[in-house]
């Protein structure tokens, strides 16, 4: 019998087991002692895609670049224009020329002087992108702000003056989500190269914090800009940490590892009453809709299953069978508001409530359907005007659970009208390909759907949401394929309106129109529940004050409002172990709240217990019983 190999193997195993057992207590050391730095940790579920502002398509990317860079004009607490890269501005009498004053002596974070020339270079670069053959720059998420503002000419007559000329008087010049970049870092970039430019850290910028480290999929670390001229910044460093799992993120927040975090409805409720925690039920700048495929031409092998979807009367009738209040209560757990028009209530300045609101009533819906010519057959099935029983496909993406929840309700309500609905969930990419009409240019695009539940998020300016329903967007962002000459005309008029009052007038008609003709039923304005700790930072300000949240809003406003809790003696909250108290400076404990003296003993005990268990197992394996006969080998 050969056994030496297994002998060694067994011993090796045992040795490893022992080593593991002995190592464990060492692994279980408490987190390191407090640092001198004051660190703000923000948790989000959305990964960062790019450090280059032109290459980001995500909210996190916008948050990151507005920390890195100033906008020409920033947003304030109520989304009003406040000084950014420019400290002041004037509009000429004819409204076509804007003159911006750039502060003298301003510096980039690396100490290089920051002048009007930097702003001119940046905006000219973007304008070149707009005027290029492609018509965009990078991913195309930034340049259109300049295009929408109608900027035609950019000059910097001296170091502190920037002049913009526009093709029409408007105020969108003050709402451009375009970071002002340091020319000395970016000047070698061309429209061809910028799409591949990674803009590696450390970043040189003029914003409050510059990214110095980016661990992909994990976090971005920012340090305070030494040359920042805005309000005093409390945090020395900011971390934006990315979580793959909402439960883990929530646990990290509760344990104090995060100062600020987005939460879901259940977590929000669970945090109520927790010490040093504030929860904010903000409203998002966007909506979730039930949409119809109103595409008007036949598509071979695709298209909607019935022409009824093109009929405003049919869509209107369906609106009476949708109980939006119940959806807010059940689908989004009360976090959000009942939706009406496609300009969300978040945009207080532009939102106009429609006249003659529909109220939920299945009987009214039935009567409206009958009146419009959609009758029941002998088996109780609702027929379209061609005499075919309505059997609709309701699609939704997998990005939010509440789409599917909402769909179940819609399915039930429509079945009460005699309309069969089958639902299906897709990933966003597949669904987009499926829903795009032939105009999008790919043979796979056949607008092959009937109904959908999906959502949109907006800008500060309502243009991006208004634009969804223009005819020219069929094949790109129009997922209802709605088209109306009057709507297009109104879109143009509002875009060129010289005053906000006039603009809002056009917008009111547009909102009423979409509400009445109902290519979308806006189900709800999504909530934006978040939570933050107050034991290390205070002064959190919602943006806007009425219904916003402190961070991940517009620009870097929230970050300059935060103040440090002075001479921190934070009371231990229900869930976090005490952190070092009485420290002269606010002391962030590494690992946030771990490593209190009291827990050390317990920690070592536990580690010891685990070690003992492992040890016993290892001993069992190698135990040699003494005194027994041995084998002859």
């Amino acid at each position: 019998m050969r056994a030496p190999v297994s002998h060694r193997f067994v011993r090796l195993l045992a040795g490893l087991g022992l080593a593991g057992a002995l190592l464990l207590p060492a692994l279980a050391l408490p987190a390191r002692a407090a640092d001198e730095k004051l660190v703000l940790r923000v948790g989000t579920s959305q990964d960062l895609d790019a450090m280059n502002p032109f290459n980001t398509a995500l909210v996190t990317g916008f948050e990151v670049f507005t920390l890195n860079y100033d906008l020409l004009v920033n947003w304030g607490g109520d989304l009003e224009p406040v000084p950014g890269f420019a400290e002041s501005w004037t509009q000429s009498a004819d409204g076509l020329t804007w003159t911006f004053k750039i502060p003298s002596g301003m510096k980039w974070s690396d100490g290089t002087p920051a002048t009007a020339e930097d702003a001119r270079w940046t905006l000219q670069f973007v304008l070149d992108g707009v005027n290029s053959e492609a018509g965009y720059i990078g991913l195309g998420y930034i340049d259109y702000y300049l295009a929408n503002a109608g900027v035609t000419e950019i000059t910097a007559p001296d170091e502190t003056t920037l002049v913009l000329k526009t093709d029409r008087p408007n105020t969108q010049v003050l709402q451009m989500y375009i970071p002002i970049l340091p020319k000395h870092v970016w000047q070698d970039q061309t429209l061809d190269t910028v799409a591949d430019f990674t803009n590696d850290v450390p970043i040189v910028g003029s914003g409050p914090y510059q990214a110095v480290e980016w661990q992909k999929g994990q976090y971005v670390r920012f340090v305070k800009n030494p040359n920042w001229t805005g309000p005093e910044l409390a945090a020395d460093e900011v971390f934006i940490q990315i979580f793959k799992n909402a439960d883990t993120q929530y646990q990290a927040f509760r344990s104090g590892e995060l100062d600020y975090s987005s939460v879901n409805g259940d977590q929000f409720a669970a945090l109520a009453g927790e010490a040093n925690v504030v929860t904010v039920a903000g409203v998002g700048n966007g909506f979730t809709e039930l949409g119809f495929n109103a595409y008007s031409k036949p598509i071979e092998g695709g298209g909607a299953s019935t022409k009824a979807l093109q009929d405003p009367a049919f869509r209107d009738a369906i609106g009476y069978a949708v109980d939006k209040e119940l959806l807010v209560e059940r689908a989004i757990k009360g976090f959000g508001e009942v939706g009406t028009t496609h300009v969300p209530t978040f945009q207080t300045k532009w939102h106009v409530e429609p006249t003659a609101l529909r109220t939920f009533n299945i009987e009214t819906a039935k009567q409206k359907l009958e009146a419009a010519g959609y009758v029941l057959d002998g088996e109780g099935r609702r027929l379209d005007k061609e005499g075919k029983a309505l059997d609709l496909r309701l699609y939704m993406p997998d990005s939010e659970e509440y789409y599917a929840t909402s769909a179940q309700f819609v399915q039930d309500w429509l079945s009460q009208l005699g309309i069969k609905v089958t639902t299906q969930v897709f990933d966003s990419g597949t669904l987009t390909t499926l829903m795009l009409p032939p105009e999008a240019g790919d043979p796979a695009n056949k607008a092959d759907y009937d109904l959908f539940i999906w959502a949109w998020g907006g800008d500060v300016d309502p243009n991006s949401l208004l634009e969804i329903f223009t005819c020219s967007n069929i094949g790109s962002s129009s997922d209802s394929n709605y088209c109306s000459a009057r709507y297009d005309e109104l879109f143009d008029l509002q875009n060129k309106a010289p005053s906000d009052e006039e603009r809002k007038g056009y917008m009111a008609e547009m909102q009423q129109m979409i509400y009445d003709e109902a290519p979308y039923h806006i189900l709800f304005y999504d909530g934006n529940p978040i939570a933050y700790h107050t034991d290390r930072f205070t002064g959190w300000k919602n943006q806007p004050a009425s219904n916003g949240v402190p961070l991940f809003g517009y620009g870097s406003y929230g970050y300059w409002q935060i103040k440090a809790v002075s001479a921190a003696t934070p009371a231990p909250s229900a869930t976090s172990a005490p952190i070092a108290s009485g420290a002269p400076t606010p002391a962030p404990s590494a690992g946030g709240g771990t490593g209190g003296g009291g827990s050390d003993n317990a920690l070592l005990l536990a580690a010891g217990a685990v070690a003992v268990v492992l040890l016993v197992v290892a001993i069992l394996l190698v135990r040699r019983r003494s005194g027994g006969p041995t084998e002859e080998e």
Binding site: L24, N52, A134, Q215, S428, L431, S476, P629
Partner: protein
């Protein structure tokens, strides 16, 4: 070990790798959804802009032969392309950043699981029906059938949030400054404890169950009876006669599992926010990041094949019968 045996196994492995490379291309093109669309639910993106994006990434070319040959040539040159999601970043770079976190977590997890699993399995198999067997086997079955997040989340809630002994997630304490490398290492190990326990517990069951049944089978062999007749102690029979023979099927499992180490443990990594290849795979899948997905799968395929090759070789050492 004959050279013929070795070369035959190596050739088979090489052939499998070539097939993986081919399959890799086909598989990812068959998935629904187009990559240039996933990122761009952009109200302002024109059709011209989309066309330009397709052109830039070569998506406007026909799949065969253009995209296919471009893929083969580049792969042979070790160029796996650039990530679609992380614009401007080579795939190799994206993958290598995530390699070590996964190797450490899963590699250590496997080691602990092998040690504990084999020990538990052989002991419970040897003492079948005893208290340790009933408890140990129950433990194995329960945890073997549990996904990592079911094991991991309670650990986070109890030991991180509740007791505050360990951090909830991540690899390092954010914002910490380290006095020395040792400090940093300790911080890392502190973060490693919970995910490592999770992965180990999840893996122990598989080894333990297989080892147990293998031992049970071996116990009834004639040579065990002979050893017993010679008056050897139980422990010695287990160690010298039963364990080595029962190990053979387990070696295969270990090899296969080691090959899969680079796949990461997706749910464990997600729950602990561990920046490994598992989370990268999920992210790449969601973003239709074909180049990264291809890279990850190629890498995974090759390592599984190599691990199997290694298993064949080790098998040759352990069992003279297969050595031809």
């Amino acid at each position: 070990m004959s050279l013929r045996y070795l070369s035959r196994q190596s050739l088979q492995a090489l052939f499998t790798i070539v097939m993986i490379v081919l399959l890799n291309f086909v598989l990812f093109r068959m998935m629904p959804g187009s990559p240039e669309r996933i990122l761009f639910r952009n109200p302002n993106l024109t059709q011209e802009a989309l066309a330009a994006i397709r052109e830039r990434w070569g998506l406007d070319q026909p799949l065969f032969p253009d995209q296919f040959f471009a893929y083969i040539v580049a792969t042979l040159q070790g160029d796996l392309g650039d990530s679609y999601k992380f614009i401007g970043q080579p795939v190799i770079e994206v993958i290598s950043e995530r390699f070590w976190p996964t190797m450490i977590l899963l590699g250590l997890g496997e080691m602990i699981a092998v040690v504990v699993g084999l020990a538990l399995g052989s002991y419970t198999g040897w003492r079948r029906g005893g208290l340790v067997d009933r408890v140990g086997n129950g433990f194995s079955l329960v945890f073997y059938s549990m996904p990592y997040f079911v094991i991991g989340m309670p650990l986070i809630i109890i030991f991180a949030t509740g007791l505050g002994w360990f951090p909830t997630s991540g690899m390092f304490t954010l914002g910490a400054t380290y006095d020395s490398f040792l400090d940093q290492l300790l911080d890392f190990l502190h973060h490693l404890v919970l995910p490592l326990i999770t992965v180990s517990i999840g893996l122990i069951g598989g080894y333990s169950i297989l080892m147990r049944s293998s031992i049970v089978e071996t116990r009834s062999e004639d040579y065990i009876g002979t050893a017993r007749a010679k008056g050897l102690t139980d422990a010695r029979i287990l160690r010298h006669h039963a364990f080595p023979n029962a190990l053979l099927p387990v070696v295969t499992l270990i090899a296969i599992n080691l090959g899969y180490v680079v796949a990461g443990a997706i749910t464990a990594e997600v729950v602990f926010n561990w920046p490994g290849l598992g989370t990268l795979t999920v992210d790449a899948l969601n973003a239709r990041d074909y180049p990264v997905l291809q890279g990850v799968f190629l890498f995974l395929g090759i390592s599984v094949v190599l691990a199997n090759l290694a298993a064949d070789v080790v098998y040759g050492f352990l069992d003279p019968r297969v050595r031809r």
